[in-house]
Amino acid sequence: MDTSQLLKGVLDLAVLAVLRTEDGYGYDVLRRLRQTGLDDVGDASVYGTLRRLYNAGLLTSYVVPSEEGPHRKYYSVNEPGLAKLDESSKIWRSFADTMNNLLREAA
Protein backbone atom coordinates (compact mmCIF):
# COMPACT_ATOMS: atom_id res chain seq x y z
CA MET A 1 0.00 0.00 0.00
CA ASP A 2 1.24 3.41 -0.92
CA THR A 3 1.84 5.25 2.32
CA SER A 4 2.17 8.60 0.57
CA GLN A 5 -1.62 8.65 0.17
CA LEU A 6 -2.11 7.91 3.86
CA LEU A 7 0.46 10.55 4.75
CA LYS A 8 -1.46 13.29 3.07
CA GLY A 9 -4.19 13.08 5.69
CA VAL A 10 -1.93 12.92 8.73
CA LEU A 11 1.04 15.07 7.76
CA ASP A 12 -0.31 17.96 9.84
CA LEU A 13 -0.45 15.72 12.84
CA ALA A 14 3.01 14.29 12.19
CA VAL A 15 4.62 17.71 11.79
CA LEU A 16 2.94 19.06 14.93
CA ALA A 17 4.08 15.99 16.87
CA VAL A 18 7.68 16.34 15.71
CA LEU A 19 7.75 20.04 16.59
CA ARG A 20 6.22 19.49 20.05
CA THR A 21 9.21 17.39 20.96
CA GLU A 22 11.63 20.10 19.84
CA ASP A 23 11.59 23.27 17.68
CA GLY A 24 13.08 22.72 14.28
CA TYR A 25 13.77 24.28 10.87
CA GLY A 26 12.41 22.79 7.67
CA TYR A 27 15.05 20.29 6.76
CA ASP A 28 15.37 19.30 10.38
CA VAL A 29 11.64 18.48 10.56
CA LEU A 30 11.93 16.48 7.36
CA ARG A 31 14.86 14.48 8.62
CA ARG A 32 13.21 13.66 11.92
CA LEU A 33 10.03 12.52 10.13
CA ARG A 34 12.15 10.19 8.00
CA GLN A 35 14.04 8.93 11.01
CA THR A 36 10.79 7.87 12.66
CA GLY A 37 10.01 5.75 9.61
CA LEU A 38 7.95 8.03 7.39
CA ASP A 39 10.24 7.43 4.40
CA ASP A 40 7.74 8.43 1.76
CA VAL A 41 7.23 11.96 3.01
CA GLY A 42 7.96 14.44 0.24
CA ASP A 43 10.36 17.33 0.79
CA ALA A 44 8.11 19.94 -0.66
CA SER A 45 5.07 18.51 1.16
CA VAL A 46 6.71 19.10 4.51
CA TYR A 47 7.55 22.71 3.64
CA GLY A 48 4.05 23.27 2.34
CA THR A 49 2.58 21.79 5.50
CA LEU A 50 4.78 24.02 7.66
CA ARG A 51 3.55 27.08 5.77
CA ARG A 52 -0.07 26.01 6.10
CA LEU A 53 0.17 25.37 9.84
CA TYR A 54 1.99 28.67 10.25
CA ASN A 55 -0.63 30.57 8.25
CA ALA A 56 -3.35 28.87 10.30
CA GLY A 57 -1.80 30.35 13.43
CA LEU A 58 -0.71 27.00 14.91
CA LEU A 59 3.05 27.65 14.67
CA THR A 60 5.37 30.53 15.41
CA SER A 61 8.73 31.04 13.76
CA TYR A 62 12.04 32.62 14.67
CA VAL A 63 15.31 32.98 12.83
CA VAL A 64 18.55 31.61 14.15
CA PRO A 65 21.74 32.92 12.52
CA SER A 66 24.09 30.22 11.44
CA GLU A 67 27.87 30.47 11.38
CA GLU A 68 28.09 28.55 8.15
CA GLY A 69 25.60 28.99 5.33
CA PRO A 70 22.29 30.83 5.44
CA HIS A 71 20.34 31.58 8.60
CA ARG A 72 17.70 29.08 9.61
CA LYS A 73 14.06 29.70 10.30
CA TYR A 74 12.84 27.60 13.21
CA TYR A 75 9.24 26.68 13.84
CA SER A 76 7.68 25.98 17.20
CA VAL A 77 4.19 24.90 18.23
CA ASN A 78 2.19 27.59 20.06
CA GLU A 79 -0.88 27.24 22.30
CA PRO A 80 -3.46 26.86 19.51
CA GLY A 81 -1.08 24.41 17.86
CA LEU A 82 -0.90 22.28 20.99
CA ALA A 83 -4.70 22.30 21.30
CA LYS A 84 -4.97 21.28 17.69
CA LEU A 85 -2.45 18.50 18.18
CA ASP A 86 -4.40 17.24 21.19
CA GLU A 87 -7.66 17.22 19.28
CA SER A 88 -6.14 15.64 16.18
CA SER A 89 -4.44 12.96 18.28
CA LYS A 90 -7.77 11.90 19.74
CA ILE A 91 -9.35 11.73 16.32
CA TRP A 92 -6.41 9.74 15.03
CA ARG A 93 -6.47 7.22 17.91
CA SER A 94 -10.21 6.71 17.52
CA PHE A 95 -9.79 6.28 13.80
CA ALA A 96 -6.85 3.91 14.18
CA ASP A 97 -8.77 1.83 16.76
CA THR A 98 -11.70 1.55 14.39
CA MET A 99 -9.44 0.47 11.57
CA ASN A 100 -7.58 -2.00 13.78
CA ASN A 101 -10.82 -3.59 14.97
CA LEU A 102 -12.06 -3.82 11.43
CA LEU A 103 -8.89 -5.47 10.22
CA ARG A 104 -8.82 -7.87 13.20
CA GLU A 105 -12.36 -9.02 12.43
CA ALA A 106 -11.48 -9.52 8.81
CA ALA A 107 -8.39 -11.54 9.64
Binding site: T49, R52, V63
Partner: protein
Protein backbone atom coordinates in the same frame (compact mmCIF):
# COMPACT_ATOMS: atom_id res chain seq x y z
CA UNK B 1 31.85 22.19 0.60
CA UNK B 2 29.64 24.47 -1.45
CA UNK B 3 31.63 25.32 -4.54
CA UNK B 4 30.63 27.63 -7.35
CA UNK B 5 28.86 24.90 -9.32
CA UNK B 6 26.71 23.98 -6.34
CA UNK B 7 25.75 27.59 -5.68
CA UNK B 8 24.75 28.09 -9.31
CA UNK B 9 22.66 24.93 -9.41
CA UNK B 10 20.94 25.81 -6.13
CA UNK B 11 20.30 29.40 -7.17
CA UNK B 12 18.90 28.27 -10.50
CA UNK B 13 16.67 25.68 -8.86
CA UNK B 14 15.35 28.17 -6.32
CA UNK B 15 14.79 30.79 -9.00
CA UNK B 16 12.67 28.33 -10.96
CA UNK B 17 10.63 27.50 -7.85
CA UNK B 18 10.15 31.19 -7.22
CA UNK B 19 8.95 31.68 -10.81
CA UNK B 20 6.42 28.90 -10.36
CA UNK B 21 5.04 30.65 -7.28
CA UNK B 22 4.88 34.22 -8.61
CA UNK B 23 1.10 34.35 -8.29
CA UNK B 24 1.39 34.15 -4.49
CA UNK B 25 1.91 37.21 -2.28
CA UNK B 26 5.56 38.28 -2.32
CA UNK B 27 5.94 37.98 1.46
CA UNK B 28 4.68 34.41 1.37
CA UNK B 29 7.09 33.54 -1.43
CA UNK B 30 9.88 35.08 0.65
CA UNK B 31 8.97 32.92 3.64
CA UNK B 32 8.86 29.79 1.52
CA UNK B 33 12.29 30.48 0.07
CA UNK B 34 13.65 31.13 3.56
CA UNK B 35 12.51 27.60 4.39
CA UNK B 36 13.57 25.74 1.29
CA UNK B 37 16.77 27.71 0.52
CA UNK B 38 18.85 25.99 3.21
CA UNK B 39 17.14 22.73 2.41
CA UNK B 40 18.04 22.75 -1.29
CA UNK B 41 21.55 23.92 -0.44
CA UNK B 42 22.04 21.06 2.03
CA UNK B 43 20.61 18.51 -0.37
CA UNK B 44 22.96 19.80 -3.06
CA UNK B 45 25.90 19.58 -0.68
CA UNK B 46 24.98 16.00 0.20
CA UNK B 47 24.74 15.07 -3.46
CA UNK B 48 28.27 16.22 -4.20
CA UNK B 49 29.53 18.47 -6.97
CA UNK B 50 29.03 16.18 -9.99
CA UNK B 51 26.16 17.07 -12.32
CA UNK B 52 24.42 19.21 -9.76
CA UNK B 53 21.34 20.23 -11.72
CA UNK B 54 20.59 16.72 -12.93
CA UNK B 55 20.96 15.12 -9.52
CA UNK B 56 18.98 17.85 -7.80
CA UNK B 57 16.10 17.18 -10.20
CA UNK B 58 16.42 13.47 -9.56
CA UNK B 59 16.33 13.95 -5.83
CA UNK B 60 13.75 16.73 -5.49
CA UNK B 61 11.90 16.60 -8.79
CA UNK B 62 11.87 19.49 -11.22
CA UNK B 63 11.42 22.94 -9.67
CA UNK B 64 7.92 23.00 -11.11
CA UNK B 65 7.02 19.66 -9.54
CA UNK B 66 8.55 20.79 -6.28
CA UNK B 67 6.50 23.98 -6.35
CA UNK B 68 3.34 22.08 -7.23
CA UNK B 69 3.79 19.66 -4.34
CA UNK B 70 4.49 22.51 -1.96
CA UNK B 71 1.46 24.39 -3.23
CA UNK B 72 -0.79 21.37 -2.71
CA UNK B 73 0.48 20.71 0.81
CA UNK B 74 0.24 24.37 1.80
CA UNK B 75 -3.32 24.65 0.49
CA UNK B 76 -2.57 27.61 -1.82
CA UNK B 77 -5.05 28.21 -4.61
CA UNK B 78 -4.17 26.55 -7.91
CA UNK B 79 -1.86 28.53 -10.08
CA UNK B 80 -3.40 31.13 -12.35
CA UNK B 81 -1.01 30.82 -15.23
CA UNK B 82 0.51 34.20 -15.81
CA UNK B 83 1.63 33.91 -19.45
CA UNK B 84 -1.77 32.68 -20.74
CA UNK B 85 -3.43 35.39 -18.67
CA UNK B 86 -1.33 37.99 -20.44
CA UNK B 87 -2.36 36.53 -23.78
CA UNK B 88 -5.98 36.65 -22.68
CA UNK B 89 -5.60 40.33 -21.82
CA UNK B 90 -4.22 41.04 -25.27
CA UNK B 91 -7.03 39.08 -26.84
CA UNK B 92 -9.59 40.98 -24.80
CA UNK B 93 -8.05 44.30 -25.75
CA UNK B 94 -8.20 43.41 -29.42
CA UNK B 95 -11.76 42.12 -29.24
CA UNK B 96 -12.84 45.10 -27.16
CA UNK B 97 -11.38 47.48 -29.76
CA UNK B 98 -13.21 45.55 -32.48
CA UNK B 99 -16.46 45.75 -30.55
CA UNK B 100 -16.25 49.49 -30.01
CA UNK B 101 -15.27 50.15 -33.61
CA UNK B 102 -18.33 48.20 -34.72
CA UNK B 103 -20.43 50.15 -32.26
CA UNK B 104 -19.02 53.41 -33.64
CA UNK B 105 -19.94 52.39 -37.17
CA UNK B 106 -23.41 51.38 -36.04
CA UNK B 107 -24.51 54.19 -33.74
CA UNK B 108 -22.74 57.58 -33.90
CA UNK B 109 -21.72 57.47 -37.55
CA UNK B 110 -25.21 56.91 -38.98
CA UNK B 111 -26.44 59.55 -36.56
CA UNK B 112 -23.89 62.09 -37.79
CA UNK B 113 -24.70 61.13 -41.36
CA UNK B 114 -28.38 61.70 -40.76
CA UNK B 115 -27.77 65.09 -39.13
CA UNK B 116 -25.35 66.23 -41.81
CA UNK B 117 -27.28 64.89 -44.78
CA UNK B 118 -26.46 65.45 -48.42
CA UNK B 119 -22.97 64.62 -49.57
CA UNK B 120 -21.68 64.21 -46.03
CA UNK B 121 -24.04 61.28 -45.68
CA UNK B 122 -21.92 59.46 -48.24
CA UNK B 123 -18.69 60.47 -46.46
CA UNK B 124 -19.94 59.08 -43.16
CA UNK B 125 -20.99 55.93 -44.98
CA UNK B 126 -17.49 55.47 -46.37
CA UNK B 127 -15.96 56.10 -42.95
CA UNK B 128 -18.32 53.59 -41.34
CA UNK B 129 -17.49 51.01 -43.99
CA UNK B 130 -13.76 51.38 -43.25
CA UNK B 131 -14.38 51.27 -39.50
CA UNK B 132 -16.53 48.16 -39.71
CA UNK B 133 -13.94 46.53 -41.98
CA UNK B 134 -11.14 47.21 -39.51
CA UNK B 135 -13.32 45.92 -36.68
CA UNK B 136 -14.07 42.69 -38.54
CA UNK B 137 -10.38 42.21 -39.31
CA UNK B 138 -9.45 42.63 -35.64
CA UNK B 139 -12.24 40.33 -34.45
CA UNK B 140 -11.42 37.55 -36.91
CA UNK B 141 -7.67 37.77 -36.26
CA UNK B 142 -8.01 37.77 -32.47
CA UNK B 143 -7.24 34.46 -30.74
CA UNK B 144 -10.56 32.75 -30.22
CA UNK B 145 -12.11 34.79 -33.00
CA UNK B 146 -15.57 36.27 -33.01
CA UNK B 147 -16.90 33.56 -30.70
CA UNK B 148 -14.60 34.78 -27.93
CA UNK B 149 -16.30 38.17 -28.10
CA UNK B 150 -19.19 36.77 -26.07
CA UNK B 151 -16.81 36.66 -23.09
CA UNK B 152 -16.21 40.42 -23.09
CA UNK B 153 -17.58 42.14 -20.03
CA UNK B 154 -19.57 44.55 -22.25
CA UNK B 155 -21.39 41.69 -23.96
CA UNK B 156 -21.98 39.94 -20.66
CA UNK B 157 -23.34 43.18 -19.25
CA UNK B 158 -25.79 43.39 -22.12
CA UNK B 159 -26.76 39.76 -21.71
CA UNK B 160 -27.36 40.23 -17.99
CA UNK B 161 -29.83 42.98 -18.77
CA UNK B 162 -31.69 40.78 -21.18
CA UNK B 163 -32.95 37.90 -19.06
CA UNK B 164 -34.54 35.12 -21.06
CA UNK B 165 -33.66 36.82 -24.32
CA UNK B 166 -36.59 39.25 -24.16
CA UNK B 167 -34.99 41.65 -26.59
CA UNK B 168 -34.24 38.83 -29.00
CA UNK B 169 -37.88 37.73 -28.82
CA UNK B 170 -39.15 41.17 -29.72
CA UNK B 171 -36.47 41.37 -32.39
CA UNK B 172 -37.78 38.20 -34.02
CA UNK B 173 -41.29 39.61 -33.94
CA UNK B 174 -40.38 42.78 -35.82
CA UNK B 175 -37.72 41.24 -38.04
CA UNK B 176 -39.79 40.52 -41.18
CA UNK B 177 -41.21 44.02 -41.10
CA UNK B 178 -37.76 45.48 -40.74
CA UNK B 179 -36.48 43.41 -43.64
CA UNK B 180 -39.19 45.00 -45.78
CA UNK B 181 -38.46 48.55 -44.57
CA UNK B 182 -34.79 48.05 -45.21
CA UNK B 183 -35.50 46.87 -48.76
CA UNK B 184 -37.66 49.95 -49.28
CA UNK B 185 -34.88 52.26 -48.18
CA UNK B 186 -32.39 50.47 -50.40
CA UNK B 187 -34.75 50.71 -53.37
CA UNK B 188 -35.21 54.42 -52.74
CA UNK B 189 -31.47 54.96 -52.60
CA UNK B 190 -30.93 53.11 -55.86
CA UNK B 191 -33.74 54.93 -57.66
CA UNK B 192 -32.40 58.26 -56.42
CA UNK B 193 -28.89 57.38 -57.54
CA UNK B 194 -29.99 56.68 -61.10
CA UNK B 195 -31.80 60.02 -60.95
CA UNK B 196 -35.27 58.70 -61.41
CA UNK B 197 -38.09 59.57 -59.11
CA UNK B 198 -40.66 57.01 -59.96
CA UNK B 199 -42.49 55.43 -57.08
CA UNK B 200 -43.36 52.56 -59.39
CA UNK B 201 -39.66 51.83 -59.95
CA UNK B 202 -39.10 51.87 -56.20
CA UNK B 203 -41.92 49.38 -55.67
CA UNK B 204 -40.64 47.10 -58.43
CA UNK B 205 -37.09 47.20 -57.06
CA UNK B 206 -38.35 46.40 -53.60
CA UNK B 207 -39.40 42.87 -54.55
CA UNK B 208 -35.94 41.43 -55.23
CA UNK B 209 -34.40 43.60 -52.54
CA UNK B 210 -36.85 42.36 -49.92
CA UNK B 211 -36.01 38.77 -50.81
CA UNK B 212 -32.28 39.54 -50.60
CA UNK B 213 -32.80 41.42 -47.37
CA UNK B 214 -34.58 38.45 -45.82
CA UNK B 215 -31.87 36.09 -47.04
CA UNK B 216 -29.11 38.24 -45.50
CA UNK B 217 -31.14 38.46 -42.30
CA UNK B 218 -31.41 34.69 -42.08
CA UNK B 219 -27.76 34.15 -43.02
CA UNK B 220 -26.44 36.59 -40.46
CA UNK B 221 -28.00 34.50 -37.73
CA UNK B 222 -25.83 31.59 -38.82
CA UNK B 223 -22.67 33.39 -39.90
CA UNK B 224 -21.84 36.04 -37.32
CA UNK B 225 -19.31 37.69 -39.62
CA UNK B 226 -22.21 39.11 -41.60
CA UNK B 227 -23.11 41.13 -38.50
CA UNK B 228 -20.26 43.45 -39.39
CA UNK B 229 -22.06 44.21 -42.65
CA UNK B 230 -25.62 44.01 -41.40
CA UNK B 231 -25.40 46.13 -38.25
CA UNK B 232 -23.88 49.29 -39.76
CA UNK B 233 -25.93 48.86 -42.93
CA UNK B 234 -29.13 48.54 -40.93
CA UNK B 235 -28.24 51.61 -38.93
CA UNK B 236 -27.49 53.59 -42.08
CA UNK B 237 -30.69 52.37 -43.71
CA UNK B 238 -32.61 53.50 -40.64
CA UNK B 239 -30.79 56.84 -40.59
CA UNK B 240 -31.41 57.34 -44.29
CA UNK B 241 -35.07 56.47 -43.85
CA UNK B 242 -35.39 59.14 -41.17
CA UNK B 243 -33.43 61.56 -43.33
CA UNK B 244 -35.82 61.04 -46.25
CA UNK B 245 -38.78 61.58 -43.97
CA UNK B 246 -37.25 64.74 -42.58
CA UNK B 247 -36.74 66.02 -46.12
CA UNK B 248 -40.39 65.57 -46.90
CA UNK B 249 -41.10 64.66 -50.49
CA UNK B 250 -38.82 62.23 -52.19
CA UNK B 251 -38.38 64.60 -55.09
CA UNK B 252 -36.56 67.23 -53.10
CA UNK B 253 -33.91 64.90 -51.77
CA UNK B 254 -31.65 65.14 -54.77
CA UNK B 255 -31.22 68.85 -54.23
CA UNK B 256 -31.08 68.82 -50.48
CA UNK B 257 -27.46 69.78 -50.69
CA UNK B 258 -28.19 72.98 -52.59
CA UNK B 259 -30.69 74.49 -50.24
CA UNK B 260 -28.17 76.35 -48.20
CA UNK B 261 -27.07 79.90 -48.89
CA UNK B 262 -25.20 79.95 -52.13
CA UNK B 263 -22.92 82.51 -53.62
CA UNK B 264 -24.53 85.00 -55.95
CA UNK B 265 -27.80 86.77 -55.50
CA UNK B 266 -29.79 85.95 -52.43
CA UNK B 267 -32.52 83.43 -52.92
CA UNK B 268 -35.57 84.52 -50.97
CA UNK B 269 -37.42 81.86 -49.06
CA UNK B 270 -40.57 81.87 -51.08
CA UNK B 271 -41.92 79.79 -53.88
CA UNK B 272 -43.51 81.48 -56.78
CA UNK B 273 -44.73 85.09 -57.10
CA UNK B 274 -48.13 86.08 -58.41
CA UNK B 275 -48.33 89.81 -59.04
CA UNK B 276 -51.62 91.66 -59.44
CA UNK B 277 -52.33 95.11 -60.67
CA UNK B 278 -54.37 97.64 -58.70
CA UNK B 279 -57.53 96.22 -60.16
CA UNK B 280 -56.81 92.76 -58.97
CA UNK B 281 -55.91 91.60 -62.41
CA UNK B 282 -53.18 88.96 -62.40
CA UNK B 283 -50.02 90.03 -64.15
CA UNK B 284 -47.65 87.81 -66.02
CA UNK B 285 -44.15 88.31 -67.24
CA UNK B 286 -43.19 90.57 -64.34
CA UNK B 287 -39.46 91.00 -63.63
CA UNK B 288 -38.31 91.55 -60.07
CA UNK B 289 -35.10 93.30 -58.97
CA UNK B 290 -33.75 94.30 -55.62
CA UNK B 291 -32.41 97.74 -54.68
CA UNK B 292 -29.03 96.91 -56.19
CA UNK B 293 -30.45 95.87 -59.48
CA UNK B 294 -29.92 92.21 -58.87
CA UNK B 295 -32.62 89.93 -60.14
CA UNK B 296 -34.74 88.40 -57.40
CA UNK B 297 -35.03 84.77 -58.15
CA UNK B 298 -37.04 82.17 -56.37
CA UNK B 299 -36.59 78.50 -55.75
CA UNK B 300 -38.63 77.80 -58.83
CA UNK B 301 -35.69 78.73 -60.96
CA UNK B 302 -34.00 75.69 -59.45
CA UNK B 303 -36.78 73.41 -60.52
CA UNK B 304 -35.36 69.97 -61.04
CA UNK B 305 -38.07 68.81 -63.31
CA UNK B 306 -37.66 69.43 -66.99
CA UNK B 307 -40.59 68.56 -69.19
CA UNK B 308 -40.02 67.88 -72.83
CA UNK B 309 -40.12 71.16 -74.68
CA UNK B 310 -39.77 73.27 -71.55
CA UNK B 311 -39.09 76.87 -72.40
CA UNK B 312 -36.53 78.53 -70.21
CA UNK B 313 -37.65 81.79 -68.69
CA UNK B 314 -35.45 84.28 -66.84
CA UNK B 315 -35.14 83.30 -63.24
CA UNK B 316 -36.64 86.57 -62.05
CA UNK B 317 -39.66 86.55 -64.33
CA UNK B 318 -42.88 85.92 -62.46
CA UNK B 319 -44.99 83.96 -62.15
CA UNK B 320 -42.54 81.19 -62.86
CA UNK B 321 -44.00 78.26 -64.68
CA UNK B 322 -44.54 75.44 -62.26
CA UNK B 323 -43.80 71.89 -63.06
CA UNK B 324 -44.39 68.83 -61.07
CA UNK B 325 -43.54 65.23 -61.15
CA UNK B 326 -46.36 62.94 -62.13
CA UNK B 327 -45.77 59.85 -60.03
CA UNK B 328 -48.07 57.80 -62.22
CA UNK B 329 -46.25 58.35 -65.48
CA UNK B 330 -42.89 59.46 -64.15
CA UNK B 331 -43.03 62.51 -66.38
CA UNK B 332 -42.87 66.23 -65.82
CA UNK B 333 -46.07 68.11 -66.34
CA UNK B 334 -47.13 71.69 -65.89
CA UNK B 335 -48.69 72.05 -62.51
CA UNK B 336 -52.13 73.50 -62.02
CA UNK B 337 -51.75 76.41 -59.65
CA UNK B 338 -54.45 77.83 -57.50
CA UNK B 339 -52.76 80.45 -55.31
CA UNK B 340 -54.62 82.02 -52.44
CA UNK B 341 -56.93 84.75 -53.79
CA UNK B 342 -55.34 88.03 -52.85
CA UNK B 343 -56.99 90.57 -50.63
CA UNK B 344 -55.97 93.86 -52.13
CA UNK B 345 -55.10 96.88 -49.97
CA UNK B 346 -58.35 98.38 -48.65
CA UNK B 347 -57.72 101.79 -50.25
CA UNK B 348 -58.95 100.11 -53.35
CA UNK B 349 -62.61 100.70 -54.04
CA UNK B 350 -64.27 97.44 -54.53
CA UNK B 351 -64.37 97.57 -58.25
CA UNK B 352 -64.23 93.92 -58.63
CA UNK B 353 -63.53 91.15 -56.27
CA UNK B 354 -60.21 89.99 -57.52
CA UNK B 355 -60.17 86.42 -58.37
CA UNK B 356 -56.66 85.19 -58.17
CA UNK B 357 -55.15 83.29 -60.96
CA UNK B 358 -57.23 80.25 -60.38
CA UNK B 359 -55.77 79.19 -63.60
CA UNK B 360 -55.53 75.57 -64.34
CA UNK B 361 -52.45 76.31 -66.30
CA UNK B 362 -49.98 79.08 -66.03
CA UNK B 363 -48.45 80.56 -69.11
CA UNK B 364 -45.07 79.15 -69.73
CA UNK B 365 -43.90 81.34 -72.49
CA UNK B 366 -41.65 84.22 -71.59
CA UNK B 367 -43.16 86.61 -74.08
CA UNK B 368 -46.44 86.70 -72.24
CA UNK B 369 -48.02 90.08 -72.02
CA UNK B 370 -45.75 92.42 -70.16
CA UNK B 371 -48.69 94.63 -69.41
CA UNK B 372 -47.49 96.34 -66.31
CA UNK B 373 -44.01 96.82 -65.06
CA UNK B 374 -44.60 98.52 -61.71
CA UNK B 375 -41.95 101.16 -61.66
CA UNK B 376 -39.02 101.16 -63.96
CA UNK B 377 -36.71 98.27 -63.50
CA UNK B 378 -33.21 99.33 -62.54
CA UNK B 379 -31.92 97.72 -65.62
CA UNK B 380 -33.70 96.66 -68.68
CA UNK B 381 -34.41 93.02 -68.37
CA UNK B 382 -33.15 90.92 -71.10
CA UNK B 383 -35.94 88.63 -71.91
CA UNK B 384 -35.21 85.33 -73.43
CA UNK B 385 -31.62 84.40 -73.59
Amino acid sequence: MADIGTDTAVASYLASVRTALTDLPATEVGEILDDIGPHVAEVAAELGPDDQPGRLHERLGTPEQYAAELRAAAGYPPRVDAPPAAAATRQHTQLRLALWLLAAATVPMPLFAMLAGGEEFVLWGVLATLTAGLSLYLAVRAPGGIAAMAELSEIRWLRDRNPGGVVAEYGRLFQPGWWLVRAGVAATVIVLLVDGRSVLAILLLMVPLALGSAWVGRRSQADRRLLWVVLPLNAFAFAFGLYILSQGAIGTIGYAGYNGPSSGPPTPQFGNVYPYDSNGKPLTGVYLYDENGRPITSEYSLSYCTPPGRVLVPANQYPQPEYEHDYGTGECVVRSVVPVPPTLPSAQSATSVPSGPSATSVPTSPDASTTALPGAPPAAPTTTK
